[in-house]
């Protein structure tokens, strides 16, 4: 039995739909996140990321479909599902009556944990909050409040941690210390799900990525596959005369830019024959740049494709 539970996925989302009146926030969304993954959920504003997280956390109820956390259904077995999940909500919220330590003690208590002070001290330390432990929540800056929210999500050492835009409006220092901490948690075996607007963060941290648009999953792949999907590399060259490219390379042309052309290279091996051909045609190479495809590029092109 224990073995079976250990085998279950960290998160399973099966055919989840959610409407608010006429608006379809989620439309038949399905995916699975395995234990120990660092998973990114990307999408423009209004794509349904937060609605999906709300359904997972039991803050919203899906109209259709099922969600499970560590094998526990979020509706029928909500106690076990919520105990396994730590969520950092997107909105900056706090209880103005409490100090930082009280906030964390109460949060531990809601999860049924007594005497959680040793762990509370540890997360306070990891998040750089130790010297704020007895400050009232009202007295903290926005960034500090955000750290407390991260701490609140971790009081019960959840195996699955969901961070909904945790670095929105947060200073660079916190962003970096937060990611170091989250990576540590991931290495310790916690499953991390992240939504972010900062694509470089997703690219740097996550191993698998789902892209959500208008309530639907439009891509769900390993980061490397997703990056490779847009044919790897782009080459920008400027020749003199700026004449036309030799025939076989015409199809590689993506666009004109800064007085040169951008070509999509199928592989790095294609570069040498290209340069050779240019020489044979009597074209002099004035400038060139080789560009790796980044997540932002894939993201923008996929969102654009979907619109067409």
């Amino acid at each position: 039995m224990i073995k079976e539970r250990d085998m279950s996925a960290a998160i399973e989302v099966q055919g989840v739909s959610k409407r608010f009146g006429q608006f379809t926030a989620l439309n038949q969304v399905s995916f699975t996140v395995q234990q120990g993954e660092f998973f990114a959920l990307l999408g423009p504003n209004g794509a349904g990321k937060t609605t999906l997280i709300s359904c997972l956390a039991g803050l919203s109820r899906p109209d259709q479909g099922a969600l499970r956390v560590m094998g526990h259904d979020v509706v029928s077995d909500y106690r076990a599902a919520r105990a396994a999940l730590g969520v950092v909500p997107q909105e900056l919220v706090f209880d103005p009556f409490l100090t930082v330590r009280e906030t964390l003690r109460f949060q531990s208590g809601y999860f049924g944990l007594r005497n959680n002070d040793a762990w509370i001290d540890e997360i306070l330390h990891k998040l750089g909050l130790s010297n704020k432990a007895d400050s009232n929540m009202r007295a903290l800056s926005g960034g500090m409040k955000r750290r407390v929210m991260v701490a609140q999500a971790l009081v019960h050492k959840p195996p699955v941690i969901v961070l909904d835009e945790p670095t929105a409006g947060v200073d660079v220092e916190l962003r970096q210390s937060l990611w170091t901490f989250v990576q540590e948690l991931n290495h310790a075996g916690h499953t991390i799900v992240l939504t972010t607007h900062y694509l470089e963060e997703a690219e740097m941290l996550c191993s698998r990525i789902a892209m959500l648009k208008a309530g639907q999953i439009i891509a769900l792949e390993d980061k490397t596959t997703l990056l490779g999907r847009d044919a790897g590399r782009e080459l920008w060259i400027k020749t003199e005369p700026a004449g036309t490219l030799p025939e076989p390379y015409q199809e590689w042309k993506v666009r004109e830019e800064e007085g040169g052309v951008v070509l999509k290279l199928p592989s790095i091996q294609a570069l040498e024959p290209l340069l050779q051909t240019l020489r044979q045609q009597g074209l002099i190479l004035r400038d060139m740049r080789l560009r790796e495809t980044d997540l932002e590029h894939v993201f923008v092109s996929m969102m654009h494709k979907e619109m067409q």
Binding site: A57, G58, L59, S60, R61, Y78, R79, A80, A81, R82, A83, L85, V87, P89, E91, V93, F94, D95, P96, F97, F106, Q107, S108, G109, Y110, F111, G112, L113, R114, Q152, H156
Partner: protein, 251 residues
């Protein structure tokens, strides 16, 4: 179970930390009512034989303060949490709807009883009423605060802004408490209003509570007990269903 205890403790702490506003202020208000009304009326009114108007008024004011504060406790705590958004920290943990209900309800009863005891202490020196049946006093104090505590939970969940909550409070709770026989015996009312008063559950709370002090009342205490406990059970049952359905909390 510890989740419930924690939420209950937090709710107690919430009103206790602002005790001037949540306990001292209603005690002072009740004392002012007593001073003004007893001065104006004590020479002209004797409701029950051998009981001064001031003594008659005290249990009514105690009960009125209890029910108003029990309502205020659960309703304002919930609407504040909803509007500031920190209710999410109570919705994310594995607390059941029963634990949620019990914590808010018990905290409301505690606030009601604490304010009630405060009013009794502050006014008792003027005309300390005898306590004929302490068990009735306690029963009606708890049930009365309980009913309004439950109504406070409903109002707090239903209202989306302070304005709506104020409407609930001023157009429903205030008339029900003021027109319940706090300041007069319903036997002095014209027949129509006498009948209407008997449709008001707060009337039974106050009458039963007052019976506990003087051993006399406008109706039989068992009848009051039946009405009040029935109201409590039905309202609690409905509210538990509301919470289980996730109405306005888990949309």
């Amino acid at each position: 179970m510890y989740g419930f205890q924690t939420l209950f403790k937090k709710e107690i702490l919430r009103f206790w930390r602002v005790g001037f506003q949540t306990v001292a202020a209603p005690v002072l208000t009740a004392l002012l009512y007593l001073l003004v009304f007893s001065h104006a009326l004590s020479r002209h009114v004797e409701v029950y034989a051998g009981v001064s108007y001031t003594a008659f008024l005290i249990p009514g004011l105690v009960m009125m303060s209890m029910v108003q504060n029990a309502f205020a406790n659960s309703s304002s705590s919930l609407i504040q949490s909803k509007i500031t958004g920190n209710i999410v920290f109570i919705l994310l943990p594995p607390l059941s709807h029963r634990e949620f209900f019990a914590a808010y309800l018990l905290a409301a009863i505690v606030r009601g009883v604490v304010v009630g005891a405060g009013v009794l202490l502050a006014t008792g020196w003027m005309a300390l009423p005898p306590v004929e049946h302490p068990l009735w006093v306690l029963t009606f104090a708890v049930l009365g605060s309980g009913i309004l505590g439950v109504l406070g939970i409903v109002a707090g969940i239903w209202a989306e802004k302070f304005d709506q909550l104020a409407a609930f409070q001023n157009f429903l709770i205030m008339p029900l408490t003021f027109l319940s026989g706090v300041f007069y015996s319903v036997h002095t009312l014209p027949p129509f209003w006498y009948t209407v008063s008997h449709l008001n559950p707060v009337f039974y709370m106050i009458d039963g509570f007052r019976y506990g002090f003087f051993g006399v009342g406008d109706t039989d205490p068992w009848q009051s007990f039946t009405v009040v406990s029935l109201c409590f059970v039905v309202l609690s049952w409905l509210t538990l269903h509301l919470l289980k359905s996730g109405y306005k909390l888990r949309h």
